[in-house]
C-alpha cells in the first residue's frame, strides 16, 4: 500500500487543557487519550463497550471511550480520571473509594468513578435504584461490588456535606 493513510485534524479540551492533533480517523477516543495525549488513567478492558472501564465524561456525560471515535470528540470537553483530583487534593469520590475499600487492583475503578461523577453532578441524592443502575453498567472482577456500593453511598454523603 503506497497511498498515504487518511488523516483528520481534531481539537478538544481535556481536563481543561486544549489539544490539537492530526489523527487516523479510525482512532477511537480511548486510544487517542492514551496514545496521543499520554493520559493513560483511562483503561481499556474489552473494546466493545461492555466492561465500562474506559468511561470518560464528554460534555458532562459518561461515554464509553472505546465506542466513540476521537473525531466525534472534536470540539468537545472531555474529563478523565486525571481531572478528578485538583491541586493534589483527592476528589470526594476518590476519598470515598479509599475509605470504603472500593478497589482492589484498581484497574476498573476509573470507569466507576467517571460514571458516578456524572450521576452525582446531576443528582446529588440518587436513589438506591439509580445508584445500582449506574454501578450495574460496569464490570469489576476483584471486589464483588458491595464495597463499591458502600463507596458510592459515602461519596453521596461527602458531596452533599460540601454543598452550601
Amino acid at each position: 500500500m503506497t497511498a498515504s493513510p487518511p488523516s483528520l485534524k481534531i481539537r478538544m479540551k481535556v481536563n481543561g487543557d486544549s489539544y490539537e492533533s492530526e489523527i487516523d480517523p479510525r482512532m477511537n477516543l480511548a486510544d487517542y487519550l492514551r496514545e496521543e495525549l499520554a493520559l493513560t488513567a483511562t483503561h481499556v478492558g474489552c473494546e466493545h463497550g461492555v466492561c465500562g472501564i474506559c468511561n470518560v465524561l464528554v460534555d458532562g456525560r459518561t461515554v464509553r471511550s472505546c465506542l466513540m471515535l476521537a473525531a466525534q470528540a472534536d470540539g468537545r470537553e472531555i474529563r478523565t480520571v486525571e481531572g478528578l483530583a485538583e491541586g493534589g487534593k483527592l476528589h470526594p469520590i476518590q476519598e470515598a473509594f479509599i475509605e470504603e475499600h472500593g478497589l482492589q487492583c484498581g484497574f476498573c475503578t476509573g470507569g466507576f468513578m467517571m460514571a458516578i461523577c456524572e450521576m452525582l453532578e446531576r443528582n446529588p441524592s440518587p436513589s438506591e435504584e439509580e445508584i445500582k443502575d449506574v454501578v450495574g453498567g460496569q464490570i469489576c472482577r476483584c471486589t464483588g461490588y458491595n464495597s463499591i456500593l458502600r463507596a458510592v453511598n459515602s461519596a453521596v454523603s461527602k458531596m452533599s456535606a460540601s454543598r452550601p
Binding site: 492514551r34 496514545e35 483503561h43 474489552c46 483527592l90 464483588g144 461490588y145 458491595n146
Partner: protein, 810 residues
C-alpha cells in the same frame, strides 16, 4: 542461624499491635485512583513496536503454506515471524505434561482455534492488525475432536502427532481399602456432574514489552505478570537462555486470579524483538484474544462420584472419577489443577479412605489454564452435592449431616487420606456461627411456608477447605520438579530511620504492600506511611513466587518478619555494645531498644540505624553495620510425595461454611439469590479488610461460576463465546449482600498464625449455590448437576419433571 519468627500477634515487639490485625487505608490506593500507577499498556519505551498475532480459524489442520510477503511490504511493518522462526529460535512449552508442549507459533499443524500462526510488529497496533490481513495461510482441515470421551477412543483424531493417544495421563490413586469400604457400606450413592469451562477474566488482559538484546543475548521483559520469577524461568526454558539472562519486570496489574496467561504471546513478542534487531515489542492481548486463546479457560470436567455411608450417616469412603479435558496441550498447568484436589480431597470430613481415578485428555480446544482455587472448586462442587444426596436420602438435615462428619477440633493437625495435613480448625464452631448468623431455623420455617404457596425456595449449606501456602512437592505426580516455593524480602532502615522493603512481586489487588507496611510498622514502631515498599525486577529481587495458591499473605509475612528479626538481632548487638552490656539484656518494644531493668536507658530504632550507618567507627569490626537484612521464607516441614501422591503439600487449611437461600422462577428458570451468609476461618486475620475484600470478590466470582460463566464450543471445537456478550461476568445485580462472620483458629505452623485466604470463597460458593438450587428442586424429584445453572438448563429440568409436556407444544 535459626531465627524465631513471631507465631502470633502477641509475639510482636509491641505492647499491642497498632496495625497488624486491623484494617487501614491502603497505601496503594491514592496512586491507583489518580492514575499514577503504571500498568503495562501505560508504559512506552523508545523505538517500541506493537505486535499483533494471526490466529488459526481452524480447530485442527495442517498448515500447508504461509506467505508473509505482502505483510512485510506494508508501510510501518518492521518484522514478521512464523512457525519457522519459533522452531529456529525457541523450544516447546515446558508447562505442559512431558512431551505435550508445542512451540508458541504453530508450525506444521494447528491444534485449536486461536492458536498463533504468525505475528507482526509494526509502528502501531492498527497497522499491525492491517498487516495480519495480508498474511496468507493455507490449511488442510483435519477432523477435530471436541469431546474428551471421543478423544479417548482409539480411532479418534489425534490432537498431537508426537503422542500415541489423546490421553495425557491416566492414573488412579487409591488411599486405603476403598473397595472394602464400599462393599461394606449399607448406603452407596453415585452421581455424575458436569463442570463447564470458565475462567479468570481479570479486567486487564495480559500485556508485555519484550526486548531482545542482540549483543548481550539476553531478554528484558516488562509485563502484567502474576509470578515474575516463574515467568522468567519459563522464558529461559522457551529460549534456552541461562536463567540469569532473562530479566522480568512485573508491572502493577489489573488482577490475575491465576488466569493472566500470556506465555505464548510473550514468547512471540520476544521473537519479534529478535527479528526487529532488538527493538522493544509491545504485545497487548485484546479481550477477544483473551477469551479465544488466552489464559482464560479452566476446569472442563466430567465427574462420576461415589460416596459410601454407614448406618449412622457417617461417610466411610469417597471415589471420584474425573475426565478432565485439558484442551490441546495442557500447557496452562492444567495437570496441576487436576492434581491439587489431593491437598484437600476429603474436604472438612473424616472420610477415612478415598480414590481418585484421573484421566487428563487432550481435545482440539484451548489449553486450560489456572483459575482461582486451581482445581478444588469443582471438586468441592461435587463432594458437597454428594453430601446433600446422602443427607436427603437418609432424611437428615444437611447442616447436621455435615457436622457429624466434620473433623473434630481436637484432632489437628489432621492428615487426610490423600496425604496432606490440615494445620488447625474448629469446623463445628464455624458451622454454629453461620447457622446463628442466618437464623437457620427461621429460614427453614420460611421455606415451609413458601413451599406451601408453591414457590421453589431452596437453602444450601456447603462447607469446603481452602488449602493455602502451596509447595511443588505433591506435583511430582504430574511431572513437576519437587522444589519449594520461597518468598523473600529485604528490609532496610536508612540513616534517618526510615524503612524500605524490597519485594519481588507487583501490585495485583490483594493489598500486600499495605500488609508489608503494617508488619514493619508494628515491628519497629513506625506509622505505615513511613514504610516504603519497592518492587525489584527478577535479576535483583530475593527469591519470589508472588501471589498464588493462597500463599502470599503468609509467605510475605514470614519473609518480612524474618528480615525484621534479623535486623533486630543486629541492632540489639549494636545497642549492647553502646550500652556496654550483653545482647540478651536488650529488648525491643514499641520502636525502642531498652536495657532491661534500667528505665530510661533506651535508643530509638532511628538512633540505632543512624549510629550504625554514620558512626560505624563506634562498632566492633565483626558487626555488619547495615540495618538491613534479607529473609527468604519457605513453608516448613514439606515432605516428598510417595507413590500415591501423598505429601504434606499445602501448609494451611482455611475453612468455611456458607448458607445460601435461592428462589427459582418456575416459569423462566431464573435463579435469584435471596440471602447469602457465611462463616470463615482463615486463622489470624492479618488485615481484616483485605480478607473481607477477598471473600466478597470470590463469592461473586463463585456466583458467576454457578449461574453465568461458560465457554461454549460446538461439536467441531469451534468456540462460540468470543466476546463479553457471550461470556457473562457478574455485575452488581448478580451480587447479593453478603453477611459474614469470622472465626479465628490460628495456624500453629505459620508466621503470626495466619492461613492462606486469597482464593477464598471460590472453594465454597459454587457448591453452596448449587446445593440451594437442588434443595429448591428436590420436591419436584429433579436435580441440577451441571454448571452454570443457566435459566435454560433449570427450565429444562423443571419442564422434564413436569413430564416434558411443556406448554409451548400445546
Amino acid at each position: 542461624m535459626a531465627i524465631e519468627i513471631p507465631k502470633s500477634l502477641a509475639e510482636l515487639p509491641t505492647t499491642e499491635p497498632r496495625f497488624v490485625g486491623r484494617g487501614m487505608r491502603r497505601v496503594e490506593d491514592a496512586a491507583l485512583l489518580t492514575g499514577r500507577v503504571q500498568f503495562i499498556d501505560d508504559l512506552v519505551l523508545p523505538r517500541m513496536l506493537h505486535a499483533a498475532i494471526l490466529r488459526s480459524p481452524l480447530a485442527h489442520g495442517r498448515i500447508t503454506n504461509v506467505d508473509t510477503s505482502r505483510a512485510e511490504a506494508l508501510d510501518g511493518v518492521v518484522a514478521v515471524v512464523t512457525g519457522e522462526d519459533a522452531r529456529r529460535w525457541s523450544y516447546p512449552a515446558q508447562s505442559s505434561p512431558d512431551g505435550w508442549g508445542v512451540h508458541c507459533i504453530a508450525g506444521d499443524k494447528v491444534h485449536f482455534v486461536g492458536e498463533p500462526v504468525a505475528a507482526v510488529a509494526a509502528s502501531n497496533r492498527r497497522v499491525a492488525e492491517d498487516a495480519l490481513e495480508l498474511i496468507e495461510v493455507e490449511y488442510d482441515a483435519l477432523e477435530p475432536v471436541a469431546d474428551p470421551f471421543e478423544a479417548m477412543k482409539s480411532d479418534s483424531p489425534r490432537v498431537l502427532d508426537a503422542q500415541e493417544s489423546n490421553v495425557m495421563m491416566d492414573r488412579t490413586f487409591t488411599w486405603g481399602d476403598v473397595d472394602g469400604a464400599f462393599s461394606q457400606a449399607p448406603h452407596v450413592f453415585r452421581e455424575k456432574f458436569r463442570w463447564n469451562r470458565l475462567g479468570a477474566n481479570p479486567t486487564e488482559t495480559f500485556g508485555c514489552i519484550s526486548q531482545w538484546d542482540p549483543m548481550a543475548l539476553d531478554l528484558t521483559i516488562h509485563g502484567s505478570i502474576q509470578s515474575p520469577g516463574m515467568f522468567g524461568l519459563g522464558r529461559s526454558a522457551s529460549f534456552g537462555l541461562p536463567s540469569n539472562k532473562v530479566n522480568i519486570i512485573s508491572q502493577p496489574h489489573g488482577g490475575s486470579f491465576g488466569g493472566k496467561g500470556g506465555t505464548r504471546g510473550c514468547d512471540i513478542s520476544c521473537l519479534l524483538s529478535r527479528k526487529a534487531a532488538g527493538r522493544p515489542v509491545k504485545w497487548i492481548e485484546d479481550r477477544g484474544e483473551y477469551l479465544l486463546s488466552g489464559g482464560s479457560q479452566a476446569w472442563d470436567r466430567h465427574y462420576d462420584v461415589s460416596l459410601a455411608v454407614d448406618a449412622n450417616g457417617i461417610v466411610t469412603g469417597l471415589k471420584v472419577i474425573l475426565v478432565d479435558d485439558l484442551g490441546a496441550t495442557g500447557e496452562g498447568y492444567g495437570a496441576i489443577s487436576a492434581a491439587k484436589p489431593l491437598a484437600a480431597f476429603t474436604g472438612p470430613y473424616t472420610i477415612p479412605v478415598a480414590q481418585y481415578d484421573l484421566k487428563l485428555v487432550a481435545t482440539n480446544k484451548l489449553p486450560c489454564g489456572p483459575y482461582r482455587g486451581m482445581g478444588p472448586p469443582p471438586h468441592f462442587f461435587v463432594l458437597e452435592q454428594m453430601m446433600d444426596i446422602a443427607a436427603r436420602t437418609l432424611g437428615e438435615d444437611p447442616a447436621e449431616f455435615r457436622r457429624k462428619n466434620f473433623i473434630p477440633a481436637d484432632q489437628f493437625p489432621y492428615t487426610i487420606p490423600s496425604g496432606n495435613e490440615y494445620d488447625s480448625g474448629n469446623y463445628d464452631e464455624v458451622l454454629n456461627q453461620v447457622l446463628a448468623l442466618a437464623d437457620y431455623e427461621a429460614l427453614r420455617a420460611d421455606q415451609v411456608r413458601a413451599r406451601a404457596e408453591g414457590r421453589l425456595v431452596g437453602i444450601g449449606v456447603a462447607s469446603a477447605i481452602e488449602p493455602g501456602v502451596f509447595d511443588w512437592n505433591a506435583y511430582a505426580i504430574v511431572g513437576m520438579p519437587g522444589t519449594g516455593v520461597p518468598e523473600g524480602a529485604t528490609v532496610s532502615i536508612d540513616v534517618l530511620g526510615m524503612a524500605t522493603v524490597r519485594v519481588g512481586f507487583s501490585l495485583e489487588g490483594q493489598g500486600q504492600y499495605t500488609l508489608v507496611s503494617q508488619l514493619v510498622a508494628d515491628y519497629f514502631g513506625y506509622e505505615p506511611e513511613a514504610v516504603r515498599v519497592v518492587q525489584l525486577d527478577t535479576q535483583s529481587a530475593p527469591p519470589s513466587f508472588g501471589p498464588g495458591g493462597s500463599r502470599l499473605g503468609v509467605a510475605i509475612t514470614g519473609a518480612v518478619l524474618g528480615a525484621c528479626v534479623r535486623i533486630r538481632e543486629k541492632m540489639s548487638r549494636v545497642v549492647a555494645v553502646l550500652m556496654q552490656t550483653e545482647p540478651e539484656n536488650i529488648e525491643l518494644m514499641d520502636g525502642k531498644f531498652l536495657l532491661k531493668g534500667a528505665p530510661g536507658a533506651e535508643m530509638t530504632v532511628a538512633e540505632v540505624a543512624g549510629t550504625m550507618l554514620a558512626r560505624s567507627d563506634l562498632l566492633p569490626p565483626d558487626i555488619d553495620p547495615r540495618p538491613e537484612a534479607t529473609h527468604v521464607w519457605t513453608a516448613p516441614g514439606r515432605t516428598p510425595a510417595d507413590e500415591e501422591g501423598r505429601a504434606k503439600s499445602y501448609l494451611t487449611a482455611a475453612h468455611a461454611v456458607h448458607i445460601v437461600q435461592v428462589e427459582i422462577d418456575r416459569d423462566t428458570g431464573m435463579v435469584e439469590i435471596q440471602r447469602y451468609c457465611l462463616a470463615d476461618d482463615c486463622g489470624t486475620r492479618l488485615n481484616p479488610d483485605t480478607v473481607e475484600g477477598q471473600t466478597e470478590g470470590s463469592v461473586v466470582q463463585g456466583i458467576g461460576a454457578a449461574l453465568l460463566e461458560e465457554y461454549v464450543y460446538d461439536a467441531d471445537a469451534q468456540p462460540l463465546c468470543t466476546s463479553f456478550m457471550d461470556y457473562l461476568l457478574p455485575t452488581v445485580f448478580d451480587a447479593p449482600k453478603i453477611e459474614m462472620v469470622a472465626v479465628v483458629t490460628p495456624s500453629p505452623f505459620t508466621p503470626l498464625g495466619a492461613k492462606g485466604c486469597g482464593e477464598g470463597a471460590m472453594h465454597t460458593t459454587p457448591a453452596a449455590v448449587m446445593c440451594a438450587i437442588n434443595d429448591a428442586l428436590a420436591p419436584l424429584g429433579t436435580a441440577a448437576r451441571e454448571v452454570p445453572a443457566s435459566p435454560n438448563r433449570i427450565w429444562k429440568l423443571l419442564d422434564d419433571a413436569r413430564g416434558g409436556a411443556h406448554s409451548s407444544s400445546a
